[in-house]
Structure formats: structure tokens, C-alpha cells
């Protein structure tokens, strides 16, 4: 099917102008690719920070169970979790 499509399409004159056109379009895709790579690095950094925060919250959560409303809710949540394991699994 791909060969049929290629056979139907007009022949592209890639002799002299082809390298310039290819260069221009490669620049566009290089910019997008570089941006995606930068975003991937940032995402891994965010993931690492989240891991650190998770361990920090576990540390502070064990030391100060009612330090904040969030901590209190978390504590309540763990209690509920302990009380209703069946309903959660069901």
C-alpha cells in the first residue's frame, strides 16, 4: 500500500534544493526534539523531588502525626484504611 502511495505521488526534485529544504525541516524537528528532551529531564527531576517529599512526609508524619490538617486527614485516612480493607479491595 505504501509503495502504491509513493508511486502515485509526484517525484520530489531532491537534487540541489533538497538539502536546503531538508535542513529547514530538520531544524524545526530538532527544536521540538530538544524541547521534548528538556521536558523529559525536568520530569525526571520532578519525580526525584516527589520521592524526596514522600520520604520527608513519612518522616514528619511519624514524628508529628497531628502537625497539620493534612497530617490529621492523612492519619484519619490511615485509620480508615486499617478499618475498611475489605471494602477497598472489593
Amino acid at each position: 500500500m505504501f509503495a502504491t502511495i509513493l508511486a502515485e505521488t509526484p517525484a520530489l526534485p531532491l537534487h540541489t534544493a533538497g538539502k536546503y529544504v531538508a535542513g529547514a525541516y530538520i531544524v524545526l524537528f530538532a527544536i521540538v526534539l530538544i524541547y521534548v528532551a528538556i521536558m523529559a529531564i525536568r520530569l525526571s527531576r520532578i519525580e526525584r523531588d516527589l520521592g524526596e517529599l514522600l520520604s520527608l512526609s513519612e518522616h514528619t508524619g511519624t514524628g508529628r502525626p497531628n502537625a497539620s490538617p493534612a497530617g490529621g486527614q492523612a492519619g484519619a485516612g490511615t485509620e480508615r484504611q486499617g478499618q475498611q480493607p475489605e471494602s477497598t479491595l472489593a
Binding site: L12, P13, Y20, A24, V27, L28, M39
Partner: protein, 264 residues
């Protein structure tokens, strides 16, 4: 219901926007290489037109949009508008780099030179690019986040007003050698005009998607910073390290403060 329960919506619609962008770019490439006819004078080289001109238009519109968002920031004093203005200008700069590179490639193929200083369109675009290249250093030079945001907004408005003025000045110049774009779209054959408009739309979509990615990433980072300060017991308003990136942790900091105060 799920959407209303979310506190922040920077990432909402990002997946849809990304898919739409990929489809639009695929359609554009198909139209450029398999539908649009070869131009009589430049031949295959003219295909660069479909990437270079939309990049330039979107970059210039982005600079103007950055100014409009900065106006909104000065009106409301809401740091989120400053962040939007910053991200839009940042992305426009990247698109402007793409414009300059693709333009140079086109100039080399067409005129035999990478750069022509006697060409008003090229030089004026370079001036705009260099003007906006000072935006980040300006932000970085000011330590106080509020003053930084205010000065950056004034800069964005002034420079944003300069962009259309510059465009009109180039149009009015008598020695005009560059192929006209907006004025000659109606003179293009239907297939070329359609391809150009689809290409312009896909570039605008790409711009919007990348801006949204950037906004979501920056907002997530600021939320993480606020959370880290909250967990480590540091005050939410503690001075941060010098940065050119706007401080948008006001909402997160406010909620953190409210959380701390509500402790009985």
C-alpha cells in the same frame, strides 16, 4: 465533577491538544510535500516557505500576546499573568530562533548568501529577536520578585507595541526585496494558500501545546517547592534563590499559610 475538584487546571486538555498538534503537523507535511504544487521560480526550494513564514508569524504574534498578558498582569497584579507572559515570550524566542535559522537556509539556497544585511525584513526580525533576547537577563538582574514581575511586564508591553510598528515600518520601506507574505496570500494559488493556512494553524497549535507544557511544568515545580517548604517547616514566604522565572507560588504559599494557621 472530577474536573471541578481539581485545584489547578494547567494540565487540563493537554493530551487533547498534543494529539491535535501531532495530527495537524502530519497533515501539514502531507500537504506540503504531496499536495502543494512546485512554485514556478524557486521550485522545490519554495517548500521552506511553509515552515519559515508560519514560524515567523507565530513568533511575532507570541511577542504581541506576551505584551497583552503583561497588561493583564499590571491590571490585576496576579502573578499567574506574569508567568503566562514569561512563558509565551520564552516560547516566541525559541520560534524566532527557528525562523532565523530556516530563513538563513532559504536565503542561502535562493540568494547564495546565509544573511543579507540590505534586506529590511531580515534585519528588522533580527532587531526584534535581539530586543527580546534581553528579556531574560532583565528579569535575572532584579532580585525582588514583585519588582522583577512589574519591570518585566513594562518591558513586554513596550516591546510588544514595537513589534507591529516595526512590521508596518518595514512594509512602508521603499526598498523591498523580500517576498510578501500576508499581502500576497490572496495571490497564491488555492492549493498553496490552503497548505500555507494549514501550516500556520499547525504552528499555532504547536506553540500553544508547548506553552501549556511549560506552564504545567513550572506550576508543578512551584507547587513542589511550596510543599517542600511546608514539610520542612520553612516559612512559605522565605526568600528564594535569584531566578529569572516568575514566582507563582503565591496561591500555594497562601494555602500553606492558611493550613498552618488553622492548626488548633
Amino acid at each position: 465533577m472530577e474536573r471541578s475538584s481539581r485545584p489547578f487546571g494547567y494540565g487540563n486538555g493537554l493530551r487533547t491538544l498534543s494529539i491535535a498538534t501531532v495530527i495537524a503537523i502530519a497533515v501539514t507535511l502531507s500537504l506540503v510535500f504531496f499536495y502543494a504544487p512546485l512554485e514556478a521560480e524557486q521550485g522545490f526550494l519554495q517548500k521552506i516557505f511553509y515552515v519559515h513564514v508560519p514560524l515567523a508569524i507565530v513568533a511575532l504574534c507570541g511577542f504581541v500576546l506576551g505584551g497583552l498578558l503583561a497588561i493583564q498582569h499590571l491590571r490585576t497584579r496576579d502573578a499567574r499573568w506574569d508567568m503566562r507572559s514569561y512563558v509565551v515570550i520564552h516560547m516566541s524566542l525559541i520560534f524566532a530562533v527557528g525562523t532565523l535559522i530556516t530563513g538563513s537556509i532559504w536565503a542561502k539556497g535562493s540568494w547564495g548568501h546565509w544573511w543579507v544585511w540590505s534586506e529590511p525584513t531580515l534585519v528588522s526580525f533580527l532587531i526584534i529577536f535581539l530586543l527580546y533576547a534581553t528579556y531574560q537577563p532583565l528579569r535575572f538582574a532584579i532580585e525582588d520578585p514583585e519588582r522583577q514581575a512589574r519591570y518585566a511586564s513594562v518591558f513586554a508591553i513596550t516591546a510588544g507595541a514595537f513589534v507591529p510598528l516595526n512590521f508596518i515600518a518595514v512594509r512602508l520601506s521603499t526598498e523591498y526585496l523580500h517576498p510578501r507574505v500576508l499581502g500576497s496570500t490572496s495571490n497564491l494559488p488555492g492549493s498553496m494558500a490552503l497548505t500555507f493556512l494549514v501550516s500556520l494553524g499547525s504552528m499555532a497549535l504547536l506553540f500553544a501545546t508547548l506553552c501549556k507544557y511549560e506552564l504545567t511544568a513550572k506550576h508543578t515545580r512551584s507547587q513542589l517547592r511550596a510543599l517542600r517548604r511546608r514539610l520542612s517547616g520553612e516559612h512559605a514566604d522565605a526568600p528564594r534563590a535569584r531566578s529569572a522565572v516568575p514566582a507563582i507560588q503565591h496561591a500555594a504559599a497562601a494555602s500553606a499559610r492558611a493550613g498552618v494557621r488553622s492548626v488548633p
